[in-house]
Point group: C2
Chain length 280, copies 2
């Protein structure tokens, strides 16, 4: 199969068996199974977009390796935290907690000139961080330089007042981070680098991207559980249950979401398998 497929960005690329195989291995599939599944998908006739490739692969995985399917589907599971950006902020704060940061969400911070609403404030070893979470429902969307410029000016305004009020007490406002579930434009990355602003997107930067952070912490979003329907997921998110791990700790929340009996057992078992995938 040497066919061309359309990416979510609208660009065209040649279908790569190797790339699909690698993404399956990343999700925890062994070498031989990954090759077999990738070949199966390559042989399908009606595959025209990366979304098609993903869906065919996901379906094949679900049939045989459900927890791996959840992990393979992670980018879509994150998207399923939407349509509003708030659950993504909550989810990201949990990732920071797992890394030893104290966090607070939806804070209003006074700057020198005006006040600013901050998605996530994080704190560790006397160092304070501002995190702006840019959640996009369209996975092909790229956060642009305008967002980074805007956040730079906010950070400057906050930093000037912070220096007066907190710096003397040993609390240092250290850095601005901007996180997105999609991508940043090249200009956004250039400007951020030039101004010591940290960016994190789905696959950027290599080694400490959002995908890798989730993998390292093993904190998968509740939306990764394939056996929950949309209504159940929405209920859980509204109750502040945004992680698979939290579902394991609060089975009563699952019951209130309408998951009972045999189904409850299945869901808990899937959540458990997803959580433990991190060590594979």
């Amino acid at each position: 199969m040497n066919k061309q497929i359309t990416k979510t960005s609208g660009d065209i690329e040649v279908f790569s068996l190797e790339k699909l195989k690698k993404s399956l291995e990343r999700a925890g599939v062994d070498n031989i199974t990954a090759e077999n599944i990738a070949k199966d998908v390559a042989d399908e006739t009606d595959v025209a977009t990366t979304v098609d490739v993903h869906e065919k692969t996901y379906k094949k995985l679900k049939e045989k390796y459900r927890p791996v399917a959840a992990r393979y589907n992670l980018k879509r599971a994150l998207k399923a935290l939407g349509p509003s950006g708030y659950p993504f902020e909550q989810f990201f704060a949990r990732l920071l907690n797992a890394r030893g940061y104290k966090t607070s969400t939806n804070r209003t911070i006074r700057g020198r000139c005006v006040s600013h609403e901050i998605d996530v404030m994080a704190y560790k070893d006397n160092r304070h961080f501002i995190f702006e979470c840019k959640f996009h429902n369209n996975l092909g969307y790229k956060s642009d330089v305008q967002t980074v410029l805007y956040m730079k000016a906010r950070f400057d305004d906050i930093k000037e007042r912070w220096a007066e009020v907190h710096e003397g007490k040993g609390h240092h406002l250290h850095k601005l981070w901007i996180i997105t579930n999609t991508q940043f434009t090249k200009q956004a990355r250039t400007y951020a680098k030039c101004n010591d602003i940290e960016l994190m997107s789905w696959r950027y930067p290599k080694g400490r991207s959002l995908a890798e952070l989730i993998d390292q912490t093993g904190l998968h979003p509740i939306t990764a559980i394939t056996r929950l329907n949309r209504r159940q997921k929405d209920y859980l998110i509204n109750q502040g249950v945004v992680l698979c791990q939290e579902a394991l700790q609060k089975p009563e929340a699952l019951k209130k979401a309408g998951v009972h009996g045999h189904k409850l057992k299945q869901v808990l078992s899937e959540a458990d398998a997803i959580v433990h995938l991190k060590n594979t």
Copy 2:
């Protein structure tokens, strides 16, 4: 008439005869006529919004005082430069020219980190200015602090490189201006003032607002001419004819827009009357 009317912002206010009278006087109507027209409008039964008030008044003015009607209708005429923002930038550059500034539009300027697209650059006495024009089709919309923050970061980035390249040659990057045909939020005004950024909106700041600048220069937009239809206005704007004054100087452009014979005479006479209103 003590009725309540809805503003474009959605807020409710009590209809004020005095306010309407003043706006008529501002447009060039004498005291007694202004009072009569305002009372006529007040007596109309189907007036529920500020838009209704405006339209009724405009209609009455058109019947008897056409050039004054054009001036009274100025805010709407500016809006009619849309839907894209480019003609408003062109129009604003003309206002700056009339004030003795050399201007260029749609420039790309390199900053320290990235390049930026600037709506209008202006230059006078070795001082350079950056103008960002925020055109809104919805007259109830307020330009918010986010725009001002974003432009502040752009200006900082440009200024840092400018200092290296031009400052030595006596060219000083003096100030950032943000112009809108509608309003700014209170937070936007506070932040701008705090950072020495100049804002100009339809009625802000008092004494040198956009409305006053147009009045002082006598440069009215081509869209103010009541006898031109939408298609004709669009054609003229596309040809770079954005002022009533320019229509007077280029009657051949009017002909190409399909305005001939008696109609051409009427349009030229109206344009002439609008241009000379500035001295009333």
